[in-house]
């Protein structure tokens, strides 16, 4: 699962070389944030919008980690306090998926597996980003590498679409973005995010309401 992170890390490294954000600060996002999509968003938005808009967008994007925290909280219940404080620093998508896949690991065994996996991802990630940074200046403009992040983002979206509410959220987010392109400082991104989540929730509520409505109808009929 670490291998797919290599091209993503390289794209991030390349984005660092073209960003308005000083590259030293961009690099600091690796230990301070360690979330590829949010790092790429922050680095890409730097210099194109207000400070508040870029920070808010990256923070909103990482809200899904609250879901990860909720889903694995019971796995940390038997862990010492120091591990419950340190472990979540590296709770990225891939590690979350692996934790879910280790239902039988507990105590020290869980800690060893978690730490070993985290160490592997850290090495792979840092190496990939460094490779992207080093290769950045030598890549010709004709290669149009600046399109790579957008290809990655939409690919991440479609890989995560598993039901109608999530599809509705993505479509609503994209459609709202089209309608709000002229808003200053890319403020439309935040508006679109809110609209997309709201539509997703509405579709989700509609789906969960349908069985109850059907049951009510059946009760009336009988």
């Amino acid at each position: 699962m670490a291998i797919p992170a290599v091209p993503f890390g390289m794209v991030l490294g390349l984005a660092m070389t073209e960003s308005a954000m000083p590259i030293g600060v961009s690099w600091a996002s690796n230990p301070l944030i360690f979330a590829g999509a949010a790092q790429l968003v922050l680095i890409t938005l730097a210099g194109t919008t207000t400070w508040l808009a870029m920070v808010t967008t990256a923070v909103v994007l990482n809200l899904r980690h609250v879901m990860y925290s909720a889903a694995v909280s019971s796995r940390f219940a038997d862990q010492p306090l120091w591990f419950r404080v340190v472990g979540p620093v590296v709770l990225i998508d891939q590690i979350f998926a692996l934790v879910i896949a280790w239902p039988d690991l507990k105590g020290a065994e869980f800690r060893r597996a978690y730490a070993a996996t985290a160490a592997l991802f850290l090495v792979v990630w840092y190496s990939s980003v460094a490779a992207g940074v080093l290769a950045g200046d030598s890549i010709p403009d004709s290669w149009q590498i600046e399109s790579a992040p957008m290809i990655m983002f939409l690919s991440i979206v479609v890989l995560g679409l598993h039901n109608r509410p999530s599809i509705a959220a993505a479509v609503a987010g994209g459609a709202t973005a089209l309608l709000t392109l002229d808003l200053p400082n890319n403020f439309g991104i935040l508006v679109s995010a809110i609209a997309g989540v709201a539509v997703g929730v509405l579709f989700d509520l509609r789906q969960t309401d349908r069985p109850q409505a059907a049951r009510d109808a059946d009760e009336v009929a009988t």
Partner: protein
């Protein structure tokens, strides 16, 4: 962008990211979020990322900023990722499509 402003942005995002990862582990180990709340959080990524793709592909020039070659390449790349189930495949397919279309029509 100034180095101080950039560093402040990274630090703030880092703090919120860590808080989102550790918050429920530290405070709600035995009381998870409701299923509906978890589902709502799952809609954030598709909504935000799709909005970003649309906004940055337009390049700050409104609807006239879209270049059809780039739009097609992004969609083709996403299709490649979906069909293969692999993110790197999507990136390779998308970039190959971009280069091919640029060579043919650019």
């Amino acid at each position: 962008m100034s180095a101080n402003a950039a560093l402040a942005a990274v630090i703030v995002v880092g703090i919120f990211t860590y808080a989102s990862r550790v918050g429920l582990i530290l405070t709600l180990a035995d009381r998870p979020l409701s299923a509906s709340a978890q589902r709502a959080l799952g809609f954030v990524a598709p909504a935000v990322l799709t909005a970003l793709v649309v906004t940055f592909t337009a390049g700050g020039e409104g609807l006239s900023g879209f270049a059809w070659i780039e739009v097609v390449a992004i969609v083709v790349g996403a299709a490649g990722a979906k069909l293969s189930g692999r993110l790197p495949v999507g990136l390779v397919v998308g970039m190959v499509a971009l280069w091919s279309l640029t060579y043919l029509f650019g």
